[in-house]
Symmetry: D2
């Protein structure tokens, strides 16, 4: 399906439920997609960082994307992460994603290797030329260890390389500079890149991002409470920022689950991904809360903390 | 003068004008203070990073603080930065600041040496016990290379060590978690640290910070356009976030001056500080736009760019 | 072929020559392997960082490894890099490498995702259990943004998970602590992990590393001058450290080629890889000096600088 | 006293013993200086990082320097650290150090503020012009968060700004490039900066540094075992690198004391400084093992571990 221009709304990065053996659990994934669509989301981002894309083999990635596309069945657009180290590898993922029915691609700057702004620009341009799907840049320095500057993003927005940005940099000042450079809250449509979408991945400050002029949000914890983010988004769009902020505060409390895993035992990324999956399991949406290797599973105390966070946010565990 | 509890409003970090010989230009500094107070600011932060505190000798720091205190003359409170590597050195600055009439102190975590959360907590507690003035923690990882976690700040807020936080971390997600932990937008007064002030130093996202529940802002470019930040603050307090965002966007454009200095010649900090001083010189507020050594002076092209930014924001250079 | 225990000597990471179209140039690669073996190297490391492994598709990786294995033809062992983000993906590369005839595997810690020591340990253990080939840990924080601590490496050496370490961390102090912990220069054979090989990737300080007790070296610029590194190694093994240091100094001068590409145009990694390939092209070993996308090609001035470095080190360009 | 040109040998950074109240214990400090001179050291570095310079007030710094100068009494030269954020502050420390009888100055790049190579060069040049004492650059990225490049150091060596370098960067490859650029192991005297001294602060790889052509070493743990480092240095100078390496290995084992403090309680810097002081106390050289605030004191278990390390290295605790 063609993407709205710009893409707007709540576009959660879809978790990839696994079986106890570590394979993609397509039945659970289909239920999760239904849960998200029922929550009112405006799009789905498959194979993102929250989807554990970095932990999935190519075959598993394909299975996950196929399941999301098939379940969405055109009700909402599906963006596909094409996450790999450099251009040739990313182009291969992009071709696969196009073949499997993705509506748009999401790619990071090169990683593992040290890179440079000119190389990053070439990377996105080559990718855009190779596969004819709308391309989103994924700015995630915590993973790739370089930052997409507002100047570079704007250049690639203006020349049509990029259809949008998913900003997970946490650098809200740079994001604001980009938004103002694109025309600001009221001038974007008459600005240098009218159809360019700016989506924030900073799920704790979505009300603020929408106030600043962002078009949408890609919230990891939106897997757990998609309806909450939709309410937040709708309130902000309707101009009721007080209500949006109130909903955001509830979601901030819920988000506290990401620290449930002990720091002595596991990385912060594993704790966060584990907590989202534990929440989905507690809510009865997925059958198993396993995360991919080599992540350490959450212990029972951590899962109990997730359950408490759910209850605190008005969500009801069924296990 | 006693500080409001919590401290609220616009509290710019006051630039320290220098003579061509590199000494504190007290006449220019007094004019700058009057310019800020005329702009409606609610407090003054002397000897902050934007004040070039790291470049000033102890004697110069004293001269600057005395001038700010004397010129303010009780019309607004004066917070004094006590910036040094570790506890004993900071305590000395704090005693001097108290003697010179500061109304509150602002201190960072230890730097130069590698530190630890328990050591940071001890640092602030020792400082609070040594000098009886309200104490603000200054979270500025770009300078001190450690981050004050929301948990640590909350602990020091609850036990009365800290009267507030100046958050220049740029980590708006962590800031939101702190604010929610303190009770959120509506629950702060009944929360665990009712008088604790949360001030943002992220001058490009002040509308968003006020929406999130921050009490005020410490904007470097507020030296140049204090009235703009006061309008932004007043609009947000009055619930008119649309107006606040519009003002914020104008200030984001103005802020673009910080990149006027060529990257091949100078650090980004020097470019920013140089641009603020060039703007104050162009506006006729200070007599000389020199920055302290070893910073590289801005060239004429850079100053012309600053002038263009001023005009673009509706401010009128007089030189 | 079975690996020596421990593996010793000069084991260069083999560059992957490309055609102008960006495909693996197997004829040039075979010539390069012959050049290295003729230089006296003791092993070959295919699909390392210097091999542009992060830029090659899976099919290209297979072609490169097959060519190296076939050309080496059992004269020296072939280690294969299995570089990918996390366990499941690395296991797939490892199975392929085993099938294609690699004699050992070289794997990094997980990257892209934030990780943890316990997860890294699990990663290596799972990999070792999945594919029955000697496993080397590749410590390269500049690429993966975590450091393998001496304690972790020693634990995995003692329990038999690891057959060796390729240390490209540049942290010579930590390396010395590891070596001393394993028994030191004279006590390794009677120490806790007698067959464990410690190879340094710090090609500018190989004399020092051999003095400290390292077993060998994996020098990127060993592609260009393998015989030089073999002389260095032989001198050190014979106890003539003066001669080793003299050879090392010549190689340090030669290594200066890595900075030939302008910093304004390209990353440092691209400049280094481009210079190695330019040198191999100038020496007539490979047909084309292209590097993989999105790296920026070296300009003619840069190539001239490479040629000057070759001549300065006594090597003779033929183009 | 005039410094040798270049300065050579073992130049430990002298610990600053404190009283239980946190003041400089001059009697203990004098004993420590005698211990170091008796151990055969070739110079003393007062007010370095290991001296807790970042924790001492200006008055305490003066007391410490005066004590070291008076006790050394011209037997060995005294280098004084002039550690502060930027030029004007460092110049003040330099004037004080000159007045108190220091034979040379040791300064870092600016810190707290973000800096730039051109600003660093100006910083050292201004400092050299302001105070007429030999000036050493102190490259310590872990503290100041910028690295002095070999090119910058060489430029400042060639133009006479710097008399030497104390390299605590841990970047042995960059150090080797500098040494080779200055003429290498045999060509330094006929090179571009013949009197320039290169001292390593990497105390675990001193044998390797001397092999590479370094002139001397500034070992923190040389406070505890100065005679060991002198033996190491003498062996390397006499060409007996095997003996040097053996001594180095013993010192690496001894150095293990730096990790005695629990990571959950204190920074790694505090643990290391605490272990050195505990060792000096156990050896009966200083009266109190206190470190400056806000460092956490070592607990008894940690001190016992220090004692075990001493015994393991053949040193005999008297407490």
């Amino acid at each position: 399906m063609p993407l709205a221009s710009p893409l707007t709304g709540v576009v959660p990065p879809v978790c990839t439920p696994l079986t106890p053996e570590g394979e993609v659990d397509t039945a659970s994934l289909a239920r999760l997609v239904e849960h998200l669509i029922a929550g009112g989301v405006h799009g789905l981002f498959a194979l993102g960082s929250t989807s554990e894309v970095a932990y999935l083999t190519d075959a598993q990635r394909a299975t996950a994307l196929e399941t999301v596309v098939a379940t969405a069945a055109g009700r909402v657009p599906v963006l596909a992460g094409v996450i790999d180290t450099t251009t040739a590898r990313v182009v291969e993922h992009a071709r696969t994603a196009a073949r499997l029915g993705a509506d748009a691609l999401v790619a990071t700057a090169p990683f593992y290797t040290r890179t440079h702004a000119k190389e990053i620009a070439g990377h996105f341009r080559t990718l855009r030329a190779a596969v004819d799907l709308p391309l989103f840049a994924y700015d995630i320095p915590v993973a790739v260890h370089s930052k997409l500057t507002p100047g570079l993003v704007r250049e690639l927005a203006e020349d049509g390389t990029l259809a949008g940005l998913k900003d997970s940099s946490g650098d809200e000042g740079a994001l604001r500079r980009l938004l103002v450079g694109l025309g600001g809250r009221e001038g974007r449509a008459a600005g240098p890149a009218p159809g360019f979408a700016v989506l924030t991945g900073s799920e704790l400050t979505v009300d603020a991002a929408l106030l600043a002029g962002c078009d949408g949000v890609v919230p990891g914890i939106g897997n757990v409470d998609p309806a909450g983010y939709v309410r937040l988004y709708d309130a902000a769009r309707a101009g009721d920022l007080e209500l949006a902020a109130k909903e955001q505060e509830r979601l901030v409390e819920l988000f506290g689950m990401v620290d449930c895993g002990p720091e002595s035992d596991m990385g912060r990324s594993s704790s966060a991904l584990g907590s989202f999956k534990a929440a989905l399991w507690l809510l009865g949406i997925v059958d198993c809360r396993a995360t991919a290797r080599p992540q350490i599973p959450l212990d029972d105390d951590s899962v109990a903390e997730v359950a408490a966070r759910l209850r605190g946010a008005g969500l009801v565990p069924v296990r």
